[in-house]
Symmetry: C2
Subunit: 94 residues, 2 copies
């Protein structure tokens, strides 16, 4: 089962990589880009009996290994192969 | 206008970071995770008159700065504030 994890810095945390990208874009003439935040993106292929099982396992993996819950938040999406539309579930952390 | 860029290694490119994560998860007991691919995720806040304008600008930025088109592919999503559902547009690269 295909799952996706998006890890982003919490809004209160300064993002120096994003700031560097904004500066680089400005020097390249892309002044319309106001702000950039960089995050991490993971595609996990997991064996699970149901989308709920996959979602809870991947959330655990994100919490323990992929994200640093002190400064980062994560979102989990599970692609249910039976139904592309309804199978995408989201889970937000604070 | 909020836009998102997902940068992933092309399927033919070996992903050592993903392999390391799979190994770490295995040693932690998560044997159900078959495969992991790591990518980058960017949130760009851009000033644009239309979603089409934003999309084409962000695709250009992704091509020139955020992704390495030789080994990576990217996907651009534009969140149209007027309509959350229909405003999400996708653009795939080979």
């Amino acid at each position: 089962m295909k799952t996706k994890v998006f890890v982003t810095l919490k809004p209160s945390v300064f993002d120096p990589q994003g700031k560097t990208i904004v500066d680089a874009l400005r020097s390249m003439g892309y002044t319309a880009v106001q702000d950039v935040r960089q995050g991490k993106y993971f595609e996990l292929d997991v064996e699970a009996g149901s989308t709920d099982e996959a979602r809870s396992m991947v959330a655990e993996v994100a919490e323990k290994l992929l994200a640093n819950p002190v400064i980062e938040s994560y979102r989990v999406e599970v692609d249910d192969e039976r139904s592309q539309e309804s199978g995408v579930r989201r889970q937000e952390t604070a």
